[in-house]
Every structure is written in structure tokens, then in C-alpha cells.
């Protein structure tokens, strides 16, 4: 199937499909259970269709490169506040992340703890369902409770409910300055204790990570305000040791750079206080980092039985509450294990039936999220 560059093309292609389709944006997310099928490349459906800085809104076709969106916003001193991550480095593949891919995978970075997730900034979607029907939901205004919120349902559905064709997003002003407070040599338990104190303070911490043995706390805003809050936080948290103000590269955290090169990588979402237990339960030799104050644990592994570690990790997470996803791993492993956290039976029944309704012929990335 050739490239398509209009919503009608996509609708026609889906309606005419006789077998499974592999939905492809920038080609940066070979994640999930491998899907065998015809590639439906939507990267041709590209371009910003509306941008109103005064209304904090941008609308773009799903295949628009994320970089183009960020460039457009930066010209008006605005940004995507949920800080979408880029998986190309971790997966070791080329390609340019698209906004459709970001939203379809609900990809949020360190600022998620303060600003919200990708799904929280999604105002509207246009999509093509598995029957080739064009559907819209939401709109381009910031508050909208008109009917059911299918926008959120689409975010994180990894193309299994519909092919996104256009997304409308809330954007926020960029900040004047940022600073990072750093402290050395804390173990995961101490690190989460520090981060919980910081996140439970009134000082609006916009990033709280444990990386390479350091805790990083990010503050953003107007310079005087950042200085004030940095001073207050360092004084409140002085009992933990000596704090330094550094220029940190939060891309390290966002894109899980310490894990790059690993054969397998997991993204684990748990209650922040459970982050250290997840790390303690891993075999020797894993690379880890915690984001979201301990609530997001990235795990990398290069030697060992990936399938066995995966299974143990998902069991552990199931007992605590949360989810573990195998973001990177050999195709042979991803083809045999539940890449996404298996759901409780009641929830699984609902998601299975929803998929059948939105994709009656089972052709949209079939099985990609299968547990």
C-alpha cells in the first residue's frame, strides 16, 4: 500500500483492507506484540491546520512530525507541557516521531507529574475506525464535556481502536527559566522520600527523578520565582545533604538515556512509594532510573532471560497495582509474552468488547496490545 495523504485516503484504505493493517506514523514505535500485515503509512497526512496562541490551542494532522509542532510553538514562546518522549534512541532505530504517534501512545515525560499526561492535553481527535468510518470527538476548546470523551480513549489505544487523522491540543506558555536541584548518592528509598517531600510542597516541582544515583528536582518559571522556590526547597530538604543547582539535561530522563543500548527495556508505572520495591525486586545487572517522583521506573537489561524477568516484573506490579510494559525487546520475546500488563478479567472483558465494536474485523494493529 502506498503513502496516503488525506483522511479520505485512509478511510478508503481501511474500508478496502482485507487483512491486518500495521498503522505507521514516523516508524519510531516498533513496540508491542509484533503485528504482521500491510503497512498503512500515515506520515503523508501532515501539517498544522490551526494555531491560536491566544487560545492556547493547536490543531495538526496526525502525521505531522513532533519536531515541526515544537518548532511552530516555540516561535510563539509556547510548548507541549506534557513533554513527550522520543523512543528512537532507546529502540535504536531511525525515524521522526509524529504527533499522532505521541497521542496514540499517550507519551508523556517528566512534567507529567505537574502538568498532566498527553491525554490531559488532547482536546479533540479525528479518526478512522476499523470499518473505514470517519469519526470526530471533542473539539478545539479547552473545556468540553459534550458527550462521551472518546479523545482519552484514543490516547493510549496504540492504533487499535482507530487510525488518528487529526489531533487538537492544548498548549502552554514556555517558561522564562529553569533550574535543577541535585543531590548525590541516595538509594532508591531515600530518593523517593526526598522526591515525595518536594512534590508535597507548595513549590511546584515540575520534574522529580532519580538518575545515576542522583536526585534531580526541576523548577520552572519566572527567574525570581525559580530562585525563591529553589532556596526554599534546599532549606526544607537540607537534612538529606548538600544540594547543588545544576543545568540538567532532562532529555536524559525523558528519553531514558541511561538505558540506551540495552537489549530490553521496560516502562513501569506504580504508586511512587512502590518504585524502590520494583527496583529491589530486579535481578543483578539491570539499569534503572525513576521519574515521576518514583511513580515511573525505567528498567534496562542486557544479559539474561528477558522473558523470565518480564514475567516476574509483571507479577510484582500486579501485586502492587500499576502496569509494566516491555518497550524494547527481541521480536521473539515480544511475540510470546504479554507486552502490556495483563488486565483483571472484568476490565479485559470491557476492553475486548470495545475493540470489537471499533474494529469489528480486527484489522487495526491486531494483537499489538494483547496480553
Amino acid at each position: 500500500m502506498g503513502a496516503v495523504n488525506t483522511e479520505e485516503h485512509i478511510a478508503e484504505a481501511v474500508a478496502a483492507a482485507t487483512g491486518p493493517l500495521v498503522i505507521r506514523g514516523g516508524g519510531t514505535r516498533s513496540v508491542g506484540r509484533p503485528v504482521v500485515g500491510t503497512v498503512l503509512d500515515v506520515s503523508g497526512l501532515s501539517g498544522v491546520t490551526l494555531y491560536e496562541p491566544g487560545a492556547l490551542t493547536i490543531v495538526a494532522r496526525a502525521g505531522t512530525p513532533l519536531a515541526e509542532i515544537e518548532e511552530t510553538l516555540s516561535r510563539e514562546n509556547q510548548r507541549l507541557a506534557f513533554e513527550p518522549y522520543d523512543l528512537t534512541g532507546l529502540l535504536g532505530i531511525p525515524g521522526a516521531t509524529t504527533i499522532g504517534g505521541v497521542m496514540a501512545t499517550n507519551a508523556s515525560g517528566p512534567r507529567r507529574i505537574m502538568a498532566g499526561a498527553a491525554r490531559d492535553f488532547a482536546l479533540g481527535v479525528r479518526m478512522v475506525d476499523g470499518a473505514g468510518q470517519v469519526i470526530k470527538n471533542g473539539g478545539r476548546v479547552m473545556k468540553n464535556v459534550t458527550g462521551y470523551d472518546l479523545v482519552k480513549l484514543m490516547c493510549g489505544s496504540w492504533g487499535t481502536l482507530g487510525v488518528l487523522t487529526e489531533v487538537s491540543l492544548k498548549v502552554l506558555p514556555s517558561v522564562e527559566t529553569e533550574t535543577t536541584l541535585a543531590i548525590e548518592a541516595l538509594d532508591p528509598v531515600q530518593a523517593v522520600a526526598v522526591m515525595s517531600r518536594a512534590l508535597g510542597s507548595p513549590y511546584e516541582v515540575s520534574g522529580a527523578a532519580w538518575i545515576n544515583g542522583q536526585v534531580w528536582l526541576r523548577l520552572e518559571g519566572f527567574e525570581a520565582s525559580v530562585d525563591y522556590r529553589a532556596g526554599m526547597l534546599m532549606s526544607v530538604l537540607s537534612e538529606y545533604g548538600e544540594w547543588a543547582r545544576i543545568n540538567a539535561d532532562w532529555g536524559m530522563v525523558r528519553d531514558a538515556k541511561p538505558l540506551h543500548g540495552a537489549d530490553a527495556a521496560w516502562r513501569v508505572s506504580v504508586k511512587p512509594g512502590d518504585g524502590p520495591a520494583i527496583i529491589a525486586g530486579l535481578p543483578e545487572g539491570c539499569t534503572t532510573l525513576m521519574d515521576w517522583g518514583g511513580g515511573l521506573v525505567w528498567v534496562g537489561m542486557s544479559d539474561g532471560d528477558i522473558a523470565a524477568v518480564h514475567s516476574a516484573l509483571q507479577h510484582h506490579v500486579a501485586s502492587l497495582g500499576g502496569h509494566a510494559t516491555l518497550i524494547k525487546g527481541p521480536e521473539s520475546v515480544r511475540a510470546t509474552v504479554p507486552v502490556f500488563q495483563p488486565e483483571a478479567p472484568g476490565v479485559a472483558a470491557l476492553t475486548t468488547t470495545l475493540r470489537q465494536r471499533f474494529d469489528p474485523n480486527g484489522i487495526l494493529n491486531p494483537g499489538l496490545m494483547a496480553a
Binding site: A55, R112, I135, N137, V151, G156, P173, S225, R357
Partner: protein
């Protein structure tokens, strides 16, 4: 407002249904005396009333599950009810329904400050969630004007907002987990103390589904530490256009106030009369609030007032004390009740792109003259969520219908300029028949497919959200297939 004819089979089986409910619940939790069920005949959209067949007040998730299972087996529609403060008729009963009130379920189940969450039963009121954590300096952010009375259950059903959601988001952005009881009695746990869904974001679609997908009995909510301080500034302008331009400039300047509220002349007068906040008398008033330490507030307000001055305000005044701030907000939050003291009114809730504010206000003014009904405007200017309040006389024949027609024309205008029918109150019965103006049949079909999955027999909160003809056809087809 047309409601479906009650199912005579159900009405005939009332005695049996009541008996089964009595077997499952404590004696005082089942109300079937018509003198008492009348208390549930309407919510805050008082223009429409209908006593339910039965009302039940379960006290636990298990009891809710029993009620729903019994009603499912008996084919009885169920209308969930929080505190009954819906402005859209979201809790309006049908004559053949069981009203399921969650008011007795108001306990705090867990507070966890290290992980910044609280888990509550959903009958708890919005303000008392904050009440449970404020001793530790925390609060629950979404703040609908009815927060003293409204229940978390209703907040989740309608995805409620509030004046401060410009910064903190609405219910869906602060909701982390739910216990959902489906119509057949099945109990599912969705989400929890961790962030984001592992699979499909079911919670995202449950929040705002107006009680049509299940009854949420417990919820895990995100709590935040209170800011060190907050201070509003009042800005008066001699036209809505100028006020609108000032809002856009503030937003573009990179300051993000926690709230930007707008009131027109009529609302300024009635709210001033009510709250004695010393509002300046002018055509358009903005209340802009920022948060932080005193020095941070000073710096932000300096920037904001500098922007305001470029628009030649007729008044510009920072709150000088916490008492004054409280009065300023009391006036704004009392807008609906203040206008209710002088007239019957209908409150609209459309959202528009902020850039369209002046045009839409002018058109509403023209419509007000055409229909001969006064209208006041109060809204969340930062996010374009408008609340035109149309005054009418309930005792004057034809006035309500005229008001409904006026309201519908305003909402269609909101959609026309790129906005939507409802920003935070929900569709309910009030706007269901306007849904076709915002959504094509395929768009509505996709939403109804979700309803089919969660409640295949269409028994939960009937005749709401979707155009009546469409939802009734769906429900009858389902019945016929059985």
C-alpha cells in the same frame, strides 16, 4: 422537555421490585412512598420534574452491586444521583426508574500524603474532600461553584470543572482510579494510585459519561499542596471586546493565572448586591487570580496590571486582604444564586474559542432583544467556557419555551464558531437534542457503541446525553431483541 413514556410492565412490577430491594438493603434505604420519592423529582434544573418509582440509598459498593443486579434482572431503569446539583437535568428521574442515591457513601477510605492521593466514597461532597486533607496543607483542586453541596460521584459523572481549572484542570485530570459497578452488578477496579492507564484508558471515557456506563462508588483523587498564597485583582473595562483582548494578551505573555473570570454589568450588579465585594460598576469585569509567595504574587500581578493598563481599564484594584479576596470569590461563586433571587433563569454552559468572545457576546445581546428576555453573562474567560444566564418568568405561559429556544440558539452559535454545547455542566436532558448540531450520526454512533459495551440494555440514566429519538430507538431495539 419530552421524556420516554414509562414502561407499564415495570410499573406493574413495582411491588416485586421493592420487595427484592428491601431484601437486599437496610429497611430505611428503600423509599417507595410517593410522598417521599417526591424529594427526588428533580435536580438543580428545576424546570423539569418527575418523581421516580423508587429511591434507594445504598451504603456500600456491595449494596450498589445488589441494587443494580436486581434492577438489571427486572429490566428497571436506574438513575444515579450524587447530591442532585446537576444544572443539566443529569439526575432527572423517569416515572419507571429507581433513583440510586450515593449520599450515604461519604467516607474517606485512605489518605496518603507521601503519594499525594485520597480515596473516598463518591457520595462525599467536593469541599469535604479538601476538608479531609487541609489540616496537612493539601487540597483537591476542581472547584465547581456548587462545591459545598455537590458530590464527587456527580463531579465524575459530569467531569465537573470550576473557576480554578485554568491551572489545575477539571475532574478527569485529577481522577486516578475508580471502583465502577456495571448495570449487571459486576464490580471493576480501574486505575489506582499509579499514573495513566496500562491498557485502554477506560477511566477517561467513564469520567464525563453522565452515569450512563456504571455507578462509580469509590474514587482515588490526586491531592496537591496548597500554594503559599493567592490574590485576585479586579479589572473593569468599558466593553467586553477590550476585556477579551486583555485576556488574550495576559495568556500570550506567558503568565498562567489560576483563574480568569468575567462578569458583565448585570452580573456585577446582582453579585455586588449579594456579596458586597466592592466590585467596580462597569460593562465588563475580570477577576484574575495568581498564586505563590507574596513576592511571587507581586511580580506576577505587576506584569498582569501592566498588560491591563495598555487596555485603559476603568478600574484596577488588587485585593488588599484575605477577607477581601474571600468576598470577591464569594460574589463570583454566588452568581447563580444571586440571580436566582431576582428571577427564574436558565444557565447555559457553552465553550467557545477565546478569540470569539466579543462576537458571541454581541450576538447574545442581539438575541436578548429579539426574544425580549434579559441575559447576564458570567464565565471562565481563560478557557472560553461561558455561562449566559437567561432570565424568564416561570409563571408566564410560554416564557420557559421562549427561554429554551433562546438557549438553543446561543448553543448553536457556540458550535458554529468552533466551540461546543457544554464545557462543564454536561448534556443531561437539557442539551441532548442539540447533539446533532455538534456531532454527525457516525460521531454519535461511536459514542453509543461505548454505551452498548458497558450497558447493553440501555438501562442506566435513560433519555440523557443522546437525542431522545436516537436513544429510545436503541433501547427499544434492545428490548425487542430479548
Amino acid at each position: 422537555m419530552e421524556m420516554p413514556a414509562p414502561d407499564s410492565d415495570v410499573l406493574m412490577r413495582k411491588a416485586r421490585v421493592v420487595e427484592r430491594l428491601r431484601d437486599a438493603l437496610p429497611a430505611d434505604a428503600v423509599i417507595d412512598d410517593p410522598a417521599e420519592t417526591r424529594a427526588y423529582e428533580c435536580d438543580a434544573l428545576t424546570a423539569y420534574r418527575c418523581p421516580p418509582m423508587v429511591a434507594v440509598l445504598p451504603a456500600s459498593t456491595a449494596q450498589v452491586s445488589d441494587v443494580l443486579r436486581i434492577c438489571h434482572e427486572e429490566g428497571v431503569p436506574v438513575v444515579p444521583r450524587g447530591s442532585g446539583t446537576s444544572l443539566a437535568g443529569g439526575a432527572l428521574p423517569t416515572a419507571d426508574c429507581v433513583i440510586l442515591g450515593v449520599a450515604r457513601m461519604n467516607e474517606v477510605i485512605e489518605t496518603d500524603y507521601a503519594n499525594r492521593i485520597i480515596r473516598v466514597q463518591t457520595g462525599r461532597t467536593n469541599l469535604s474532600v479538601t476538608g479531609a486533607v487541609e489540616e496537612h496543607g493539601f487540597f483537591y483542586a476542581p472547584d465547581p461553584s456548587s462545591q459545598l453541596a455537590c458530590a464527587i460521584a456527580g463531579n465524575i459523572a459530569m467531569n465537573s470543572g470550576g473557576a480554578h481549572c485554568l491551572k489545575y484542570g477539571v475532574t478527569t485530570n485529577n481522577l486516578m482510579g475508580v471502583t465502577l459497578v456495571q448495570m449487571d452488578g459486576t464490580v471493576v477496579e480501574i486505575g489506582g494510585a499509579h499514573l495513566d492507564a496500562g491498557g485502554l484508558d477506560l477511566m477517561g471515557v467513564i469520567c464525563g459519561s453522565e452515569g450512563q456506563l456504571g455507578v462509580v462508588t469509590e474514587a482515588t483523587l490526586r491531592i496537591l499542596h496548597k500554594p503559599e498564597g493567592a490574590r485576585p485583582v479586579l479589572m473593569g473595562f468599558d466593553s467586553a471586546e477590550v476585556a477579551g483582548a486583555c485576556v488574550a494578551d495576559i495568556i500570550k505573555a506567558g503568565v498562567l493565572p489560576v483563574a480568569i473570570e468575567f462578569m458583565d454589568k448585570m452580573l456585577i450588579e446582582v453579585c455586588e448586591d449579594f456579596a458586597k465585594a466592592d466590585y467596580p460598576m462597569c460593562s465588563a469585569l475580570l477577576i484574575v487570580e495568581v498564586e505563590g509567595s507574596d513576592a511571587e504574587i507581586d511580580a506576577q500581578l505587576a506584569l498582569i496590571t501592566e498588560i491591563a493598563k495598555r487596555h485603559n481599564p476603568v478600574a484596577l484594584r488588587e485585593s488588599a486582604s484575605s477577607e477581601e479576596s474571600a468576598r470577591i470569590w464569594a460574589g463570583r461563586k454566588a452568581a447563580f444564586s444571586a440571580i436566582g433571587r431576582i428571577s427564574d433563569y436558565m444557565c447555559l454552559d457553552g465553550t467557545i474559542p477565546v478569540s470569539e468572545l466579543p462576537y458571541v457576546l454581541r450576538r447574545i445581546g442581539e438575541m436578548s432583544e429579539k426574544y425580549g428576555l434579559p441575559v447576564g453573562n458570567v464565565f471562565h474567560a481563560g478557557d472560553g467556557n461561558m455561562h449566559p444566564l437567561i432570565c424568564y418568568d416561570a409563571n408566564k405561559p410560554g416564557d420557559l419555551e421562549l427561554c429554551e429556544e433562546f438557549g438553543a440558539e446561543v448553543l448553536k452559535l457556540c458550535v458554529e464558531v468552533g466551540g461546543c454545547l457544554t464545557g462543564e455542566h454536561g448534556v443531561g436532558i437539557e442539551k441532548r437534542d442539540l447533539m446533532t448540531h455538534q456531532y454527525d450520526p457516525a460521531d454519535l454512533e461511536a459514542q453509543m457503541a461505548v454505551k452498548d459495551v458497558f450497558d447493553p440494555r440501555w438501562l442506566l440514566n435513560p433519555a440523557k446525553v443522546f437525542p431522545l429519538a436516537v436513544s429510545e430507538a436503541r433501547r427499544r431495539a434492545t428490548l425487542a431483541a430479548e
